[in-house]
Amino acid sequence: MGDLWDGLSQAFFLLVTLDGDLVEITLRSLQVTLSALVIASVIALPLGALLAVRRFRLRRVTIAVLNALMGLPPVVVGLIVYILLSRSGPFGVMGLLFTPTAMIIAQVIIIVPLIASIAHQALRELWTEYHDLLISMNTTHVQRMKALLWDGRRALLTASLAGFGRAIGEVGAIMIVGGNIDHATRVLTTAIALETSKGDFALALALGFILIGLAIAVNFAIHWLTQTEREGRW
């Protein structure tokens, strides 16, 4: 209980003094995760739409693989990305290991299956509704996917937010591929792991509370944005 209280008060202290290191790692957390989220959404949302609209041969296999990959342990993703990006790996010459870019790549791999899977679920329902109309209008596959993505955007937002939640709280993969280098690849979660290993539970908890606050703030911000859109357009 004492540690919890210490953590809360320390979080408060760090926030009101706008601690320089805290601001830096918080911004880096956001930078990495939001970049990963944008890239993953660009890949996963159309993939979800494609799975809803088209009946191609490997569709069932793809869906099964996506669902299985949702449970992929981040550490495994981290290891694979590490091996690929390592200087002695196939993409070593790019020198990406231990950079924010490597962390973004790992997070993209972790959240694409999650976002694609949730998007597919949501769009499949919308597609049963739209199916007859869009076929009747003689739309192309791309037009059908566009219609689903646009009209299903609110459900897709939920899918993306789920991806954000998983990515912002992820530590296993980015620890391996980012290396938790101070002032270069340290983010909130890796800093929490570090402080925990030092036995500084109060600071670790403080960072944890800030992480929770950040996640809530991002969710609220996005809900507020969609709310204004609803009132403005509809």
């Binding site: 007859d132 109309l133 209008m137 037009q143 219609a147 009209d151 299903g152 509809w234």
Partner: protein, 237 residues
């Protein structure tokens, strides 16, 4: 004038999981008039319309328009029994068919406003289509189908769930479209509506065309005992 007609249907059959939904159908449709498909529930009215429109799999036979198929696909539209509303504003529902066929935003919106006038939804352009009443939805579906000025419009029980006033409005829109040269092919279970709109009647029974004739002849003097019984209101199998 029309290059789509005659529509020639020969030996056309549609099945689902081995069971015949409609067919075999032989039919020749000319460019003029309003064709109304009637028949008891399960006779295959919806399936026939979907087959002609090309959105139901054709298992046997052929459905042949006079022009090439791609052109034919572009020049027809379908209004479903339960109108499908795009989860967008009324305006965007109306512009959608134009936008996907390459019409610019400005021109599409002008056309949408004109169509909204015709279907009596001018005041609702900015509203969500999901917020419309049943009658308004059906009118919007009609407007959306008509906005590309199709040569052929299929309608599957367009007034099944509407009250009298909404039905009157929808029928007015349909008659205006027919006068404007749109070929209407519709199903209904409402005999009053069939009498008001039809120039020819197709009577379906058990997936086949049982009787077909000019509207006046059919209603006043049906040839088959089943058609007579159906018009009397008896149960027909």
């Amino acid at each position: 004038m029309s290059r789509m007609f005659p529509l020639i249907v020969e030996g056309a059959v549609t099945r689902r999981r081995g069971k015949v939904l409609v067919g075999p159908v032989d039919l020749r449709l000319e460019a003029r008039g309003v064709t109304v498909v009637i028949g008891p529930n399960g006779a295959g009215k919806t399936s026939l319309l979907r087959m002609l429109h090309g959105i139901a799999r054709l298992n046997e036979g052929r459905v042949q328009w006079a022009c090439d198929e791609a052109e034919a696909r572009e020049r027809q539209a379908f209004v479903f029994q339960t109108p499908v509303m795009l989860r967008r504003s009324v305006r965007e529902n109306l512009t959608y068919p134009l936008r996907i066929s390459g019409v610019g935003r400005k021109a599409a919106e002008v056309a949408a406003e004109g169509m909204a006038d015709k279907i009596g939804l001018s005041g609702a352009l900015g509203r969500s289509a999901l917020a419309l009443s049943g009658g308004e939805r059906q009118k919007l579906a009609l407007g959306r189908a008509l906005i590309r000025e199709p040569e052929v419009l299929f309608l599957d029980e367009p007034c099944a769930a509407l009250d009298g006033r909404a039905m009157r409005e929808v029928e007015a829109i349909l008659l205006a479209a027919a006068e404007g040269g749109t070929r209407l092919i519709m199903s209904t279970h409402n005999m009053g509506q069939a009498r008001r709109l039809a120039s020819e009647v197709v009577f379906l029974l058990g997936g086949r065309i049982h009787e077909r004739g000019a509207a006046e002849t059919f209603f006043d003097n049906p040839e088959t005992p089943q058609a007579r019984a159906f018009l009397r209101g008896d149960i027909v199998e």
